[in-house]
């Protein structure tokens, strides 16, 4: 055996060496998980937390101005029974608004791409809807839906989350490959066949990109609407908890609620990214693993 034979790749994927090769790549992927890429942000985060804690202790900052991370963590554990149900209320609003925005955004985008005139006539109003400060109109919406606060909050969050889906999906539906469009025309495809087999798959990466933005915006929309609504009672969301904690100068509790909200946002983003990678893994540049 040559001394450097272990360095040469297997001659073909079907050779017995392939399994060893595959195992090796799995190990290297595992190693990569603990590489600098992952360790660096964790180190930065831990360092910042330590600095924060040390700073708070050293300068004896009162907790109502800035609580240390240990106190926040302690409060989070203590207040979990009250905060978690509130977070679930906000989650319900977020999910309802997100689903509504996804379905309506997709349908509106499909409608837009049926004719240039529909798009030209209606797109400016979608932009107006997007730029409208939801904080300003939320009280009105809540009054309109006076008997149903949940629906009012969902509508507010829906307004915030809708535009990225319309905008991205419209772009995607319009960016189907020109040769493929010709091919469909040549083989006598009707409008629905072209939509279903060409335009929608072409729009998929754009649509999924829109979902990732809207997932976070749904949460922000829900929190902002709750802030404005300031609803009391049993069905109060996490924003209400943030607001009340701030009024009562329970700043560690406010931080705990904030961390939960942010954590929820991160979870939503990660889930939508996983969904996107899974749906696009075979074909789209964004989801392909490359060696270089």
């Amino acid at each position: 055996m040559e001394p450097n034979s272990s360095l040469s790749p297997p001659s073909s994927p079907a050779s017995p060496g392939a399994t060893v090769w595959g195992a090796a790549s799995q190990i290297s992927r595992f190693n990569r998980l603990w590489s600098l890429e992952v360790m660096a942000p964790i180190a930065v985060g831990l360092g910042a937390l330590v600095l924060w804690e040390v700073g708070v202790q050293l300068f004896q900052v009162p907790p109502y101005l800035l609580p240390g991370p240990l106190l926040v963590l302690q409060t989070l554990v203590q207040e979990w029974p009250q905060l978690f149900p509130s977070l679930m209320v906000t989650l319900q609003i977020t999910v309802a608004a997100f689903v509504a925005a996804t379905v309506s955004g997709l349908l509106i985008a499909i409608l837009f791409t049926q004719s240039k005139w529909i798009e030209r006539s209606f797109f400016p109003y979608a932009v107006i809807l997007q730029t409208m400060p939801v904080v300003a109109i939320a009280p009105l919406i809540i009054i309109w839906f006076k008997s149903n606060t949940f629906a009012a909050l969902v509508v507010c969050a829906w307004i915030v989350a809708l535009f990225p889906i319309i905008s991205n999906t419209t772009l995607g539906l319009n960016s189907a490959d020109h040769s493929l469009q010709n091919l469909f025309q040549l083989y006598g495809a009707n409008r629905w066949q072209t939509l279903w087999h060409l335009r929608l798959p072409s729009a998929m990466p754009y649509f999924l990109g829109g979902l990732r933005i809207s997932g976070g915006l749904s949460l922000i929309g829900a929190v902002v609407a709750e802030f404005v609504a300031g609803t009391g009672g049993a069905r109060s969301g996490i924003a209400y908890q943030i607001l009340m904690s701030s009024y009562n100068l329970q700043i560690p509790r406010m931080f705990a609620a904030l961390i939960m909200t942010t954590g929820l946002g991160v979870i939503i983003f990660v889930l939508l990214t996983l969904l996107s990678d899974r749906l696009l893994r075979h074909w789209h540049e964004s989801a392909l693993q490359r060696e270089n």
């Binding site: 010709n182 091919l183 083989y187 066949q193 060409l198």
Partner: protein
């Protein structure tokens, strides 16, 4: 034999006033392999698109010697134009799917088309996993799956390396000899045009027009030796002359 396709005084003027084609006269007999060569902008692809019905001529007529029922066109695009989200089988299935045939009912046709282009075994692959040459083979298989009698090819091998191009040239030629298609082949590569065709139609730009129509009198099957023969070189020189001085008079074969 009556012509299968006749273009009579066909012109195409775009909305901005660009004359893409001016007074194109072209007659194609059944079973002929006709190449259109010319510089970019000479309208050779436009001819193909008009013949395919992807657009209407501004003036002139395009007449078929086949009834719409007998006519079965297939188009091969320069960039393979495969759906990246679909496997090779699903891509080849597309023309039949658009006619309402399920994958199950046309498995045999798809397999046959894939075998014709030597792509058996790559059925479950996605376009990204294929080389440029294999993608083009898949694209040709998609064209063949409807059993066409007229094949329109728009610079199909333009983006491929020279070796792959030579392989696909001889493969297409073998298939053409078996299947007796009528082929309209657009290319800017004169060597490819001479090697493949019965006739080479030379075009010039501004406005797009035909400057020469040369018969390539060499028997089929054409071997690789033909590519280096004196006869081959003679035709290539001839075409180059027309390309470099397009104002010369038209020669009719």
């Amino acid at each position: 034999m009556p012509p299968i396709l006749t273009l009579h005084q066909v012109s195409k003027v775009y909305g901005n006033g660009t004359v893409a084609l001016q007074d194109i006269d072209l007659t194609v007999s059944p079973g002929e392999f006709v190449s259109l060569v010319g510089p970019s902008g000479c309208g050779k692809s436009t001819v193909l698109r008009l013949v395919a019905g992807l657009g209407q001529p501004s003036s002139g007529q395009i007449a078929w010697g086949l009834s719409p029922g007998e006519r079965n066109l297939a188009f091969v695009f320069q960039d393979a134009a495969l759906m990246p989200w679909a496997t090779v089988v699903d891509n080849v299935h597309l023309p039949l799917k658009l006619k309402g045939k399920s994958l199950r009912s046309c498995r045999a046709d798809i397999q046959e088309a894939l075998n014709l282009v030597s792509l058996g075994g790559a059925e479950r692959s996605y376009p990204r996993q294929l080389s440029g040459g294999m993608r083009m083979r898949a694209s040709i298989a998609r064209a063949l799956v409807t059993r066409p009698n007229v094949l329109l090819m728009d610079e199909p091998f333009g983006a491929l390396d020279e070796m792959t191009r030579a392989r696909l040239n001889s493969d297409v030629l073998h298939l053409w000899e078996q299947k007796h298609w009528t082929v309209l082949f657009v290319t800017h590569n004169i060597y490819e045009a001479v090697y493949l065709s019965n006739r080479v139609v030379v075009m010039a730009a501004h406005p797009g027009r035909i400057v020469a129509d040369l018969a390539i009198d060499a028997p089929y099957p054409r071997s690789e030796e033909f590519r280096t023969s004196a006869q081959f070189n003679h035709y290539c020189r001839e075409i180059l002359r027309y390309l470099s001085s397009p104002e010369r008079t038209v020669t009719v074969p």
